[in-house]
């Protein structure tokens, strides 16, 4: 199959007015499923079942209303107009046949209503009246006058027809009067009338006999166009008259409905099938049948599978099929399929069908969302996918596959946050973790250490945390830029997963206390130094907290503190021990030639060699410690 036109057909997902419809549908869809879930939890009494089908038909009505509203909102030139109109036509008919009807229920009123709403003559009537605004007496001279009356009768709009007829100048002639009378007395079967079906049939037969009487007795000559006679023939359900009026109906299904409404007004679905099989109406339109007619035929035939597949082809997306099948499935009507009943796993099969369409729809949305990376469209698709759990490949798996593929390179930070939460919300923790990892790496490569850290803390990735902390501290030693250290200032307990980050955070605390205490007061300053000293010793005493390559660098802070005389005797011994440990470790590393661990961070970029510095440090520190011991002794 040619792929390019296929892709173009998904443009409805980028069309503004379609997007409005899609997002409203999503809301109804979600509401429906949420309500059903609530119901199934409370499942106690049987009557809930009644409620269920109510909910479904209510949702279906809402779907229809949304399309109806959208049709009113968009202007008539829009190319969507035709699309929406067709959709509405199919949907309303499906509602009548699949959802509202019962096997013995009378379809006439619903079908007539469908006919009226999808082939509305009101605008034409309005035109007629506006043309003869000042002079209604000449109304009957308009070429559309009789046409409209006949159409009104064909649609069963008897009151409209009578109203129009009342503008005719010879309305008081006997033939007009008797026609008016017969129209007025036409029996009407509706659910709120008091008639039983049997009574109605009897009444109807009597009424139709009178029509035939009028047709034979009255003199229709006075009305020169012969339209009254046609109307009367329509009322008598004269087959040939219906066939002759083909242009008025412009479709076989309208003709069928119109014919049935006079030939057999109490018809039900099986009657409909009988008439369809006789195929009278179809024959007239034989040469004009198209895809859409086939769909209507299949709807009357109850062939859901074919309908949805045909609709997918007609609209080139699964928007309609997914929603309709979902409703039908929830309503328990999908099992009515003839083929399914004979199959062993009928139940299982129908589950698969409606979910297949939901998934197909979601995938279409996703493929449209792909091009312009719009997150709200993705979320819409996910909502649908989440409702699919009975197939081999569940919706959640599809979400995971899709989210994995979202390109993070061009995603903004805030959108990445959203994707992260989306994954997390759906329980895809591994995926969220990997998103976090990619984001921290991306930020790191750009030198945004803070952003990287923020992602790292969120996903608690220890190994990268170590790496990041080392990198930050290395950079700090090079640039002495305090903001690098300050990155950790808001982090406390959430970094316990990572040693290096703890070290970084503690080191910052020490550094601030020792060098950036802005207290001028001498005693508090000394307190700060003392705290800093204790902190430093704690840091150094914990094995392996400070990476070896930074150890020497940290040790070099000691002379500054000793100068302030902040260490007591025990602490001074501890310092000696720490230095000893450091030297042992260094010897060990050189002996075993563990090169990569041996690399130490250089202290300062001046000409003095590292060895010399260490020597100076050693001398200085021994001298100071000795002095300190003496001082401490004296003070004691």
């Amino acid at each position: 199959m040619n792929q390019i036109p296929e892709l173009q057909n998904y443009k409805i997902f980028n069309d503004p007015s379609w997007r409005r419809v899609i997002s409203q549908f999503r809301e109804i869809f979600n509401d429906l499923h949420l309500n059903l879930e609530k119901n199934s939890i409370q499942e106690t009494i049987k009557p809930e079942n009644v409620n269920l089908s109510d909910l479904c038909s209510e949702a279906n009505q809402k779907y229809i209303n949304i399309i109806d509203n959208e049709l009113k909102l968009i202007d008539s030139k829009s190319e969507n107009q035709e699309h929406f109109r067709l959709l509405l036509k199919v949907w309303k008919l499906c509602q009548i046949i699949f959802i509202k009807s019962s096997p013995s229920g009378i379809l006439l009123n619903d079908l007539q209503e469908w006919y009226r709403s999808t082939n509305n003559i009101d605008p034409m009537i309005q035109d007629l009246f506006s043309n003869y605004n000042h002079n209604v007496d000449n109304l009957h001279t308009d070429q559309n006058y009789w046409l409209l009356i006949i159409m009104a009768v064909a649609q069963g709009r008897i009151d409209t027809a009578r109203h129009l007829m009342s503008f005719h100048p010879s309305k008081n002639s006997p033939v007009f009067r008797s026609m008016d009378e017969i129209l007025r007395t036409m029996p009407n079967f509706s659910s709120n009338s008091h008639l039983t079906l049997f009574e109605f049939k009897a009444k109807w037969e009597y009424w139709q006999k009178r029509c035939i009487q009028i047709l034979t007795n009255e003199n229709f000559q006075i009305e020169e166009t012969g339209s009254l006679e046609i109307i009367c023939k329509l009322l008598c359900a004269d087959e040939n008259t219906f066939l002759e009026l083909k242009p008025i109906f412009n479709s076989w299904y309208y003709m069928l409905i119109s014919y049935l409404s006079y030939a057999n007004p109490s018809f039900n679905i099986s009657d409909l099938h009988i008439h369809l099989d006789s195929g009278i109406c179809m024959k007239v339109f034989e040469n004009e049948l198209d895809e859409f007619d086939a769909i209507i035929l299949k709807i009357f035939d109850f062939d859901v599978d074919v309908i949805v597949n045909d609709c997918v082809r007609l609209f080139s997306n699964n928007f309609f099929s997914a929603h309709l099948l979902d409703i039908l499935f929830l309503n328990g009507k999908l099992q009515m399929n003839k083929n399914d009943l004979t199959m062993f796993k009928s139940d299982k099969n129908s589950i698969a069908i409606h979910e297949e369409h939901l998934i197909e729809y979601a995938v279409q949305i996703l493929s449209a969302a792909w091009s312009n990376s719009s997150l709200s469209l993705n979320q819409t698709a996910f909502d649908y996918l989440l409702k699919c759990s009975n197939l081999d490949r569940t919706g959640l798996e599809l979400i995971e596959t899709y989210l994995e593929k979202i390109s993070l390179t061009n995603l903004s930070e805030s959108n990445a946050n959203k994707v992260f939460y989306l994954a997390f919300q759906n329980g895809l923790h591994d995926l969220a973790f990997s998103i976090g990892r990619v984001m921290q790496m991306r930020a790191f490569k750009r030198g945004m250490y803070g952003t990287a850290l923020s992602w790292n803390v969120r996903i608690k990735d220890c190994s990268f945390g170590n790496y990041l902390a080392e990198k930050i501290i290395e950079d700090f030693f090079k640039s002495k830029d305090l903001k690098l250290l300050e990155l950790t200032e808001s982090l406390t307990k959430e970094i316990i997963y990572c040693d290096r980050l703890i070290f970084l955070s503690k080191y910052r605390e020490f550094y601030k206390l020792a060098y950036y205490s802005n207290k001028t007061d001498m005693s508090t300053k000394l307190d700060n130094f003392k705290q800093a000293g204790t902190l430093l010793l704690q840091l150094l005493e914990v094995q392996n907290l400070i990476p070896f390559k930074f150890r020497k660098r940290v040790l070099f802070h000691i002379p500054d503190l000793i100068q302030e005389n902040v260490f007591n005797e025990d602490q001074l011994f501890a310092i000696l021990r720490i230095i000893q440990n450091y030297e042992n470790k260094k010897d060990f590393l050189t002996k075993n030639e563990l090169k990569n661990e041996q690399d130490e961070i250089e202290i300062d970029n001046d000409d003095v060699s590292e060895e010399m510095k260490w020597k100076f440090f050693y001398e200085k520190i021994s001298q100071m410690i000795a002095e300190n011991f003496v001082k401490n002794k004296i003070e004691l």
Binding site: R19, L377, T380
Partner: protein, 340 residues
Amino acid sequence: MYENLNKPEQIYLNFNASKVRWLSNSKVMPTNLFCIGSGENLQNVSVWKMDQNQVDFEPQLLCESDSLDGMVTEIKAKNSEEIFVSTSNGSVYHFKYSHFDQKLSLITKWSSAESHTENLNFINSFDFNSDCDELCYVTENGTINFIRLHSQTNNVNTLDYNELCSLNSVLYLKQFEIAVGDSLGRVKIWDARSRDNKKSSLTLYLEGESSPIVCMANHPNQQHMVACGNLNGILSIYDVRSNKRPFIMSHNHSEPIMEVCFHPFSSDNLISCSFDGSLWFWNASSKGDLKTNWEDRTVNAKNYLESNRYTLNSFDINNDQLLAVNNNFCLYKLRYQNLF
């Protein structure tokens, strides 16, 4: 204390709205004009009018701007005519809406110099000071930038300092003092005048809470109070005069806060909207007692949009009316009443 007068009314838009703002001189002056910035399938700003006499909520689209160079990340109305708009592509637009012929015209556009490097200059937020002569915006790559609004040149003045983490929100506290919220949960106070002094004057943060700050809001009459919404749903109120521990409202939001705002009349009340679609009214009133400390208060919260389950991208208050847009193309309108 605040009661919903009637149910939230809603209409559906045909684009994804990222920001909604009333077009008014201040939050207390009633207006019926508002503007919406779109996020995904369209990239423009539109001005809408609401008919006050109408029973139904049927706002009318007055005009739209041309397509912008990225999705709208923030809109702020200077007065009832002029708006500033920032985009994800690093540009700031200055639009003027003419009430007379109902047109939106572009006055100036500023773009940062290195606009070629993609994505690095995603503007997260901006603010202008009370004199409206300076605008400050912060970006995802950690830079703080200033625009002189009255200068003839279209230069963007970038502070020679990089925070190394993405800056999500900025607010002018006083004429020259700005507060910047970053992705490590810190609020830094800067003096905008001393651009050579590369150090913030004060850093505030909530210990043990490092999730990114998403949004900030000024107190209507106490400029030193700043409300911050975090990514993990914590709403905290800082007093920027001291580095005391902030007052934490609650953890009612389970998910990221998208926007936060003090109530314009009664500043004891805050409103926030979140990722999960709830719109919380926080009532921290001290019940008649004059308490200056937020710590002594009890907080009641109520979700005003329970029917909504989709991410609320933005909301704005004007007098007694509130507009909110969600991620599912829906625009909500709420009215509420002060029961005092």
